[in-house]
Symmetry: C3
Subunit: 409 residues, 3 copies
């Protein structure tokens, strides 16, 4: 329906400052466009280079319906490929992580090296050209240990984001980190509802008692810190350690460092560090949180002692999978320096509360009674930003002129 | 597909006196039209005012995909609203029943009074007008304690039905009743097959041994009672008590009182009363059954000692939910005056048998071998009436001239 | 979408010698065409006359969405009908096998004789004509005890296949066999991926250790036996017993007898007979395997001591049901002459391994990274043949001229 008048009308129907017309949250045809225009074309954050410690280490996952594999090649570089054999298309590596010297398709044992070149294909005729049957690569960018991929042929310009993110993230030393925990949470809600939920804290005070202990739930869109004396002190203290505060942003990304609640050092049940071996060893880990986020699907919070990653992947018009990961220093010993239940508690509770809220939002939006409502310009600035980004992105995709909505800054 | 030639052709393909062409039972696009034209536009019977005993008592449920809430306001009137917050559309009250002083959306705590007015919305700007963000009302009519709703903007004329139903139902004193039991039964069949099943007793003798003990399974469309001496005696006896027999009907409703099988007083396993405290205290409860029913989805049987309600709600092209409720006098004490297993047995068995029949009907209709077959004019008059009503309703919706099918009276 | 340009383009997009473009494996609209053009129109193999031992014995099953019934009539002939009542379409016999003197619809007891004539329909008016409401027949052909059906009005010419198959199958005496075991295996893969899997042994060496003990997994498309001295000996030995070797084929069928691995007599865990009472009592059962197969969905292996049947039926675009049956001599006594776990082990393991491979193939084909790849002309000749047959069949169905692909012989 990409070029249809119906879709153009829907895009034009959207009222500035308001949530989207119902079909954007419920229509399978628009979902298909979302996958094509957004998840098959934008940069996505999928994990950390620390998850690929050695040549042959790989991470296989499915983006919407597309299986991909990201691996460390023999030279140590991180590469990505579509995870479909060039013979009959079978998935080569099962989703998950592992290590392999070569990529061998389980179906007919077509074998690829870690650079994606076909090395073996049995019983093929003389005129078969292995060179024409390499694995198809995907775009990969690694920024100070954070892995971004893009399935599209012509990815959006990555350089400005890299320039902004690299110095902010570098002090956390992600290359020397390890994955402490990860899971997939199934949410029966459209991916945009899940993202709208994840882009504001207007709902936090009433719904996230655990998060609210440490997270400044009254925070507004800027995640800035210029308003209070405490914030000024935080900025000065960070500057002393050479840590920029920001905020910095682009059309599809935002980066900012901000202080937690008074007296709170990390996002733990009591605000005190839960990993003895810190990632960023400054002021006893009292460095607030570095939030870095990209549209359409991700945010991370890097704290003194651990980093939390939140990336969502759509599975259907009303089903979304959240991949959550927790990263700690690679020398932190589980059971000695940290325990997983404590490490994940704050965000795990928050994730599940948000899942319930998003699913409930979906149920309400499904109804005849739903009409798009107004976002709070102060409390939902990041939501507005996400929704505006989405609408502009889809307008461009559908060939509809920009709506020229001033972004809420 | 509402205005398409394909749909017009399908409507014209229907052969008078016969079941519908296959796509009406299997096509997801026609299902979507059914929801729009029928369930989002017609009067629906959802329950009893006795379920809303006090101001703030509410009943929340989902009609197809639309969550609604029906409640008793501070003045004691029964009102209905779409159960979607005017902010971002979240469902306000979870499906089920309860009581609340105000309606508070769980997402961002937008708060509405029992009349639907927005009373609180945090962090909204100066120019935000709460008056523009009241809950959207739905139409509600209460007839002697029976609640009807309509989601459409312009409901069908309700007055004639009210005039006919009110005097028939009033003697049962539904306002002084209470809900003794309710459940939802999932049926994997198109809602029209479920209704066709519920509109005839041609299948009863062989399939409903429990119901057949008390229910006159040979009954024909009229549910009338003019044919036999026993029926004449019944009419005279009812007249003596001021109870009209009918039948009365309109294009989308039917009302009639009729006698049960010889010697049977109520629809119980042995035909004897199972609730000691009667709803209609006349002749020891020996008043037959008052059947009142509306297209597209409901029938009730009011007996001397209890009332059974059957309302179906479509969930998908091949999935329908039956909501069954049993009402008794509010002073009847469970475990003393009645027990639930005995109370529900006859209709519960019947519901489950009908579910199996409808699902089996769906399987057969799905096949290439299905061709619409003829209804028995005597034994399936009410089915014919339902199907004719449906076809005429859809013709009007699609802008196709009436087929002028004479209704079987 | 049958006549659409989109479908024509897709058909023309197919590259000779290569697997199909993605939508053929994933698109619900193409799946609907497959059902219409293939499963509702081609000959299908559903079982054996031995499953219908007496008049009234029936076998009911569902082909895609169409319930059918095949039975032995009073005269002993095997007939087939659509299993939908001519009244309101209910399924008459539940799927499975059984025996009945008459076919009585469970809904309203419309009753048909074993020849499909309506004998009873209660409460129908004077002018109702039972003769107009016989069960609708389907085409049935029985070849030496093997049952083929066709749901289409004008089946493909069956005579050449019968002429070829009858003498090859007759010696196995299927009329004197019995069903020893059967099951349905659910595979979450498009039916064509399941068939491509079932038409080659390129994947066998690495994936079917159990099958590989006895089955010549290096076998090529011909299933011929002319190449080796051992094969020549096999041919001479079979000729001595009057057993033709073939191969023989038509556009939609293939028949050939071939030797198993050296020293192996049947497809059992150790290659030795597992049924003491043989079906074909020649050379101690050492007769290799008779493979007979039809497009779109079936193959059988008739061995000296048992016969294995593999027929698939599509259920959805990414779901296929495999019906597997094992036939033995009717006088073989379970627990004495054979035990089921040993009998089914080789093919049961193989079926489950193939299910996993097909589902994995589906996951890979779903992805953006999939591009149709080249089949091995030697190892995947039968796959190519199946895919070419499918493409030609769909071209004819869609009114697209033949691609004139030379069949791999």
């Amino acid at each position: 329906m990409r070029g249809t008048q119906e879709f153009r009308n829907l895009l034009n129907e959207r009222r500035p400052g308001h949530s989207l017309p119902r079909p954007f949250y419920t229509d399978p045809d628009i979902y298909a466009l979302d996958v094509e225009a957004v998840f098959n074309a934008c940069w996505l954050m999928i994990g950390f280079s620390a998850e690929l410690p050695k040549p042959g280490s790989y991470l296989a996952m499915t983006i919407a319906r597309t299986p991909i594999i990201v691996l460390r090649d023999r030279g140590g570089a991180i590469r990505g490929f579509f995870n479909s054999c060039r013979h009959r298309g079978a998935q080569i590596c099962p989703d998950g992580s592992g290590r392999a010297a070569k990529l061998v398709c389980p179906y007919h044992q077509w074998t690829y090296d870690l650079e994606g070149r076909l090395q073996h294909a049995g019983q093929m005729p003389e005129n078969f050209r292995a060179d024409d049957h390499s694995l198809r690569p995907i775009h990969v960018e690694v920024v100070a240990g954070v892995i971004y991929i893009c399935l599209g042929e012509t990815p959006p310009d990555f350089a400005p984001f890299r320039r902004a993110l690299e110095p902010m993230v570098k002090p956390y030393n992600f290359e020397n980190a390890k994955l402490a925990h990860q899971y997939v949470l199934v949410e029966k809600a459209n991916w945009k509802l899940v993202m709208e939920n994840g882009r504001e804290c207007y709902h936090c005070a009433a719904n996230h008692p655990e998060l609210g202990i440490t997270f400044p739930v009254g925070i507004t869109e800027k995640f800035g810190a210029e308003e209070t004396v405490r914030a000024q002190n935080y900025c000065m203290r960070m500057a002393k350690h050479g840590l920029e505060v920001g905020p910095d942003d682009g059309s599809w990304w935002q980066i900012a460092r901000f202080p937690l609640n008074e007296g709170m050092i990390t996002m733990s049940p009591d605000g005190q560090p839960i990993v003895k071996k810190p990632m960023l060893d400054v002021d006893g880990g009292d460095v607030g949180s570095l939030r870095f986020a990209i549209e359409p699907h991700n945010f991370c919070h890097a704290l003194g002692d651990f980093t939390f990653m939140f990336s969502i992947f759509p599975v259907g018009v009303e089903e979304t999978h959240l991949i959550a990961k927790w990263l700690v220093h690679k020398d932190a010993v589980e059971g000695v320096d940290y325990d997983v239940p404590s490490l994940i508690k704050t965000w795990d509770m928050t994730n599940r509360q948000d899942r319930d809220l998003s699913e409930n939002n979906q149920r309400g939006v499904n109804g005849l009674g739903y009409v798009p409502g107004p976002y709070s310009p102060t409390a939902e600035g990041f939501v507005l930003r996400f929704v505006n980004w989405y609408c502009e992105h889809m307008r461009a995709f559908a060939g509809v002129p920009s709506a020229n909505i001033a972004e809420v800054a």
